[in-house]
Structures are given as C-alpha cells and as structure tokens.
C-alpha cells in the first residue's frame, strides 16, 4: 500500500459515494453536488495514474495532470449551467424537486 494506491482507493470510494448521493437526494442542487463528487473522484484517479508515471526528475506524468486541470474547469462550467437550469426551473414552475408532479404554479414569464 503506497501513497498513490491509497488516494486511488479514496477516489474510488468518492465515485461510489457521489453516485449514491446522485440517486438518493431529492433536491436538484444536492444531485449536482453529488455529481461534482463523482467528477472529483475520477480526477483523483487520473492523479494517481499521473503520480505512478513519475520519471526523470518530474514528480508525475504531466499529461494526465494537464487533462485534470482542463477537466476541473470544464466540470465547473457544466455545474454552472446545471445550477442556472435548476434556478430557472424553480422560477418558472416553483418546483423544488425534479418530479413532474411537483410543478404547482402555472408557468410564469
């Protein structure tokens, strides 16, 4: 058991935890949070692969690290879009969850 393997297992548990939160939470914002947990767990796995590729004086393989940096920024933009959609849904229908029977206000413009 070395450091990269430890963080790899941590990333695996985070993905499972995020998946559970995504399915179980009724509030859309909590689902988005859980989805971010899944994403960060996957990025940790990338980081583990990068760390294990350490060679020639570099602390880690730089290619997976670059992919992770790109991924974090893109995941944030997707999160921002998802949050904007949830807020707009709430403004239009007053829905607190994603269930179709929950919309109780007539569509307001």
């Amino acid at each position: 058991m070395n450091v990269p393997t430890l963080f790899g297992l941590c990333g695996a548990v985070l993905v499972g935890l995020g998946l559970y939160g995504l399915v179980v939470s009724p509030q859309p914002l909590r689902k988005i949070l859980a989805f971010n947990l899944v994403g960060s767990g996957v990025f940790l796995l990338f980081g583990v692969v990068a760390r294990r590729g350490a060679a020639l004086g570099m602390g880690g393989d730089p290619v997976p690290q670059a992919l992770v940096i790109t991924g974090i920024v893109v995941a944030f933009s997707a999160t921002a879009l998802a949050v904007a959609l949830v807020l707009r849904l709430h403004d239009l229908t007053g829905a607190a969850t994603l269930a179709p029977a929950d919309a109780d206000e007539p569509p307001a413009q």
């Binding site: 058991m1 450091v3 430890l6 963080f7 790899g8 297992l9 941590c10 695996a12 993905v15 499972g16 935890l17 995020g18 998946l19 559970y20 939160g21 399915v23 179980v24 009724p26 914002l29 949070l33 859980a34 971010n36 947990l37 960060s40 940790l44 980081g47 583990v48 692969v49 990068a50 760390r51 294990r52 590729g53 350490a54 060679a55 020639l56 004086g57 570099m58 602390g59 880690g60 393989d61 730089p62 290619v63 690290q65 670059a66 992919l67 940096i69 790109t70 974090i72 920024v73 944030f76 933009s77 999160t79 921002a80 879009l81 949050v83 904007a84 807020l87 607190a96 969850t97 413009q109």
Partner: protein, 315 residues
C-alpha cells in the same frame, strides 16, 4: 507504515468523512459549505500526489467558485427546501442506490489495485521535447504546446457554457445585467475588503500567470483569481455587473480564443502545422496566448457564477 503514509491516511479519512457529511446532511446550505471544505482538503490531496498545478486549480475552482455558485443557489432555493426534504426516498431505493454506489466503488478499487507495474508514462517523451517550448513547467508545456488543441477546445467549451447560461434569460431581461443589485454599507467591512484585496489579488494573479512558465501556476489559476476579485467587488456593491449586450464584454470573452486561433492558423504557413510554433518563437507566443486567455477566462468564469441576466440595463 511510515509517517508520510500515516499523514496521507488521515487526510483520506478526513476527505471521506467530509464527503459523507456533504451527501447526508439535511440542510442544503450546510452541504454547500461542506463542499467548500471538501474542495480545500482535496487540494491538499493533490499536493500529496505531486500535482501542484492541479492543487491550485482545485482550490481555486472547486473550493472557491463552485462553492460560491452552490451557496448562492441554495439561498435562493430555500423556500422549497422543506417540500423537497419530504420527498426523500424510502429505505429500499436507498439500499439499491447504496448497492449501486458500492459496486461501482469496488470495481474502481479493483482497477486501482490492478494498475500495471511498471506504470506506463509519457514523461520521457515530454522531457525529450520540452526544450522546444522554452518552458520549465512540464504541465504548462503539455497544456499549451503538446496538447494545445485540448486547451483551445476547452476555451470554446467555456464560451458555449456561458452562451447556454445566457439562453435561460427571460425575454424581457435580454441584454440586461446579471445578478441582483448588491447594496451594502459603503463604509462597512465587505466594502473595505473589496477595496483592499483586489489590487493584491491582481498582482498575485499576474504573478501566478508569469511564473506558471517555469513553476506551478498558469492561466487557469490566474484567471480564477481575477474572476474572484471582480466578483468580490460586485458583491460589495463597488461596481456593477456589466450588461451582457455590451460589445466590449463580448470582445473580451472571445479575445483569448481568437488569439489562440490566430496563432494556430499562423502556424500553418510558418511552421508547417496548425498550432505549431515557429522555431525559437514558442515562448513569446505561448505567453501571448496565456495573457489573452487569462482575461477571457476571468470574465467567463465570473459571468458563469453570476448567471443569466435578472434585471434591465437601466436598473
């Protein structure tokens, strides 16, 4: 079991504990705060994995901007909280979800334990060709030279996300200002911080951009810092979010991508391929791309946090 492994083990336990708390806590506002803490702890994990650039990005974006986004949204959705909490599924769906999460986690854990030894790596190829870029930081070299097409497409994805957020504007507010009008005491603590911190933040951001050529840093981290400083000034009421119809705003948003594309296409006649840098000119071109992209990223990220326009221009 040496001391470093013990430290990392405790860090992992802390990360998992905060993650479990974020998923299971009843109040959504508390979950948003928990995610901020989780992002900062994850940045520590990145440092332990010797990926300092990723640690900076995770701390800035994960622990910073995403949390601001989440907290603003949970405050706005507070009214529907009780109704949503009543819709929590019963024990059987939770058990099935736990089985699903557990099996996915177990599968990934098996993959992690079965990773090949010796690990395949591209570090030798990077080390072989990094001298052509004139950079010292291998990750920046990969981002802006060896995998520059990924970075270019990511800049475009950011603009797409912003346009998608803007399409959610109600018709009567199109062209207006995003976010509410923040009115705070002009002599209060927040206004004081918003006057004191942004100059320091701008200097630190330019430093992070400049030093990212040879040490951990780069345009994403610097752009996030600038976005945070601008958001602080807006939230303290010192400045207003610009209306999205302004030409200068739209020009700044696309400036980074335009510069990137221009240099990329110029590489075709000058160096033989799209996004190829001419001999000896790599570093100045890379610095130009990074500087233009930093501004675009800063404005794009801040506007993504502010959301679609909510009031008219004159408001």
């Amino acid at each position: 079991m040496n001391l470093a492994l013990l430290f990392d083990g405790m860090l992992v336990v802390l990360i998992l504990a905060v993650a479990v708390w974020t998923v299971t806590v009843r109040d959504s506002f508390a979950a948003g705060i928990g995610y901020a803490v989780y992002g900062l702890l994850l940045a520590l994990a990145w440092v332990r994995l010797a990926a300092v650039d990723a640690a900076l990005t995770e701390a800035a974006i994960g622990g910073g901007l995403t949390s601001v986004l989440m907290i603003r949204a949970t405050v706005r959705l507070r009214a529907g909280e009780a109704a949503a909490r009543a819709a929590t599924p019963g024990p059987l769906p939770r058990l099935l979800a736990a089985l699903l999460g557990g099996s996915v986690a177990a599968g990934l854990a098996l993959v992690v334990l079965a990773l090949p030894d010796p690990a395949p790596t591209l570090a030798p190829q990077v080390a072989e060709h990094i001298a052509t870029t004139g950079l010292g930081n291998a990750v920046t070299a990969v981002l802006l030279s060896f995998r520059a097409i990924d970075t270019l497409l990511e800049a475009v994805v950011l603009i797409y996300a912003l346009i998608a957020v803007w399409t959610l504007t109600p018709d009567r507010f199109w062209g207006g200002r995003p976010g509410p009008k923040y009115e705070t005491d002009p002599n209060g603590m927040l206004a004081y911080l918003a006057r004191l911190l942004p100059p320091i933040g701008i200097v630190v951001a330019v430093y992070v951009l400049w030093v990212g050529a040879d040490l951990p840093g780069g345009k994403f981290q610097a752009g996030t810092l600038l976005a945070a400083m601008w958001l602080l000034a807006i939230m303290a009421g010192l400045t207003e979010a610009p209306p999205i119809s302004r030409r200068w705003l739209r020009g700044v948003l696309v400036a980074g991508t335009v510069v990137f594309l221009a240099i990329g296409f110029a590489g075709v006649p000058l160096a033989g391929a799209f996004l190829a840098y001419p001999e000896g000119f790599a570093k100045p071109l890379i610095v130009a791309i990074e500087a233009a992209s930093m501004l675009s990223i800063a404005f794009t990220l801040a506007l993504l946090v502010l959301g679609p326009p909510e009031r008219r221009d004159q408001a």
